[in-house]
Symmetry: C2
Subunit: 369 residues, 2 copies
């Protein structure tokens, strides 16, 4: 840090002409009422920090101004000890046809095969009991809450999860609830019960002229809540397809202590090659947890052609197992001990700048007393 | 939506055994004081929404509960019209040695070559005037604010930017300010003045045993502020290397209307192959803007070996131009018209769920009156 040492290394060239004037973008913005905002905002933190007993208050040793514990509002929950560290996951990438009975039979067969290969967690594709089209969603929709014969697809999943003693993240099906239709994923525990139900919260409305146009919002209603479930194979956050585009959802799941994010999806032939792998790897690497995805196999004769490429990604964003586009069940090992290891390698939790940005989990903020 | 149609498609299998019980993770959390939090939080939004004249209040047509305009706090600023739509960018990937004068001469030559090839914006690598080591940072540090002979590296950049009439994102150098040392990037306008100065806000403290251990915080102090600058070639958000790991920084730059993010970086031989390309593409695709990076060329004999691979990424996360690891200046075209096009294709801005998550730009929240 001695200037004398520095000057030994070079001869000073032309003098700096700027005179050191800095015209940063926000330097001229008046700081009116800032104390008012700060006070209100601080009171939120104070209350939420006090009230969350298990909150991780990660103290940074690097700078007095770092406030990593405030980068997540409410503060991040420490990663819970999972009931199991190592287990096999099965990603059932099968062909979806217009015959619903056949789809249910295929799902059943794929799940049984995955279980035979040792999978304790099985993931199905998005909209696996119906063709992916706005015309079909109302026709194939089931009343999941009524159960039984009103929902043969989930009845099959319930029966299988109980019989095979596995956890099933049941892809998604069109769900009828009153006069609305949702794109819904049920998570079944090894006892056959529904442990969580996620309704796709970001509807797939996309318009890439000449390549891909689809408007789910024509027939579907968006879900109202993120979904995270404690299962026999760890704490799992659920997103459906387009939900994966919104990094905030993954980040709030990570802050709720998720070990694994599961995204049933059906990316298409335009967005698949562009973004499917990228998004999975980004969510895993940024959140330092496992990400599993499951797509239908590709049917080139269908109106909506799925990209395939169901994948398991580890907490460094590394692809651990993946498929091409054909019918296949990928069985691969998850090892949660890598999560802690990656978080030790790259301690983002202690490095985030809560003094500069904060991600608010609105539902959790409103839930904690 | 008629049940009669549905039942034609299949025969109901086994009855659902769960009875529809849902045990979602947060369903049992008591909702104490939620109205209190909501009221306080709403008042922030109300005030900030009112006070930001240029705030984009993106209305969603999809659901009454979608509050996309609240997903960014304060609300996102609409993308400003850039002063120029198409231009060439130059990424100067050169070898950094222990001789500071030589480093300055190399930077000068690379910038002149980029300008000769038509680059109107030139980007330099992280820590380009010094070896990348905690031992060297104090020795090579310059007093940028004092300027002139106290900062020969930035003096050269000022002189060149004025003479060549180009914008320079000047990579980074160790900066001495009082008794502190920062890792600092200066942005020079075509008039030679410093238009913005970014001090790396996330210090590179990493420990992957046997592969890569480095603790910048041993010698460096973290910066206190995100940096976004209006230049002749658009609104540019600056991050330095490890800053790219924090998606929140990129997201708040996007919400401040950035066209381009520039990350001088020096990823190493462990994190480079793992994450360098992934992170650039993820930030670009998630924020739907351009991302440019610049690394030193690889010197396999150095203590810290840089990965290289300086890259320009477009707003679909697509790699537009990239380098291997040798000394090279990449010159490629940026076309900002693609930003609007991608945002029309995939209208994230209207699809975000401000009712479920909110990213707070703390500095901007405190700056607006």
């Amino acid at each position: 840090m001695k200037a004398a040492v520095t000057t030994k290394l070079f001869s000073p060239p032309t003098a700096l002409k700027s005179g050191g004037k800095i015209s940063n973008y926000f330097s001229s913005v008046p700081r009116l009422h800032s104390s008012n905002f700060s006070q209100i905002y601080s009171s939120i933190h104070l209350n939420s920090v006090k009230s969350i007993k298990k909150a991780q208050v990660a103290m940074s040793s690097m700078s007095a101004t770092y406030k990593p514990e405030e980068a997540r509002v409410p503060p991040a929950i420490p990663l819970p000890k999972p009931p199991i560290t190592k287990f096999k996951i099965g990603l059932c990438q099968f062909l979806v046809a217009s015959d619903k009975e056949r789809n249910i039979a295929r799902a059943r067969k794929a799940i049984e095969e995955a279980a035979q290969q040792g999978a304790q967690l099985v993931l199905l594709p998005e909209i696996w009991n119906s063709p992916y089209s706005n015309d079909c969603f109302p026709l194939y929709a089931e009343d999941i809450n009524a159960g039984g014969s009103a929902s043969p697809s989930t009845a099959m999943l319930s029966e299988l999860s109980q019989r095979l003693k596995i956890t099933i993240v049941g892809g998604s099906i069109p769900e009828r609830s009153g006069d609305k239709i949702f794109n819904t994923c049920c998570v079944f525990g090894a006892d056959g019960t529904i442990k969580g139900k996620h309704r796709k919260i970001h509807l797939f409305d996309i318009d890439i002229p000449g390549k891909m146009t689809f408007m789910e919002s024509k027939t579907l209603t968006a879900g109202e809540s993120p979904t995270i479930v404690d299962t026999d194979v760890g704490r799992i956050g659920i997103g459906i397809c387009y939900d994966i585009r919104f990094q905030e959802l993954a980040a709030i799941y990570a802050a709720r202590g998720a070990h694994l994010l599961c995204y049933p999806g059906a990316f298409n032939m335009t967005t698949g090659p562009l973004h499917w792998e990228l998004l999975q790897r980004a969510r895993a690497a940024d959140c330092q947890l496992y990400v599993a995805t499951c797509s239908p196999a590709r049917d080139s004769t269908a109106n909506y052609v799925a990209w395939g490429h169901s994948t398991l990604v580890g907490p460094f964003g590394e692809i651990l197992a993946t498929a091409e586009h054909e019918e296949v069940t990928v069985v691969a090992e998850v090892d949660y001990s890598f999560i802690e290891q990656r978080r030790t390698n790259l301690p983002f939790q202690k490095q985030r700048r809560g003094d500069l940005y904060q991600l608010v989990d609105v539902q959790r903020l409103n839930s904690v007393g």
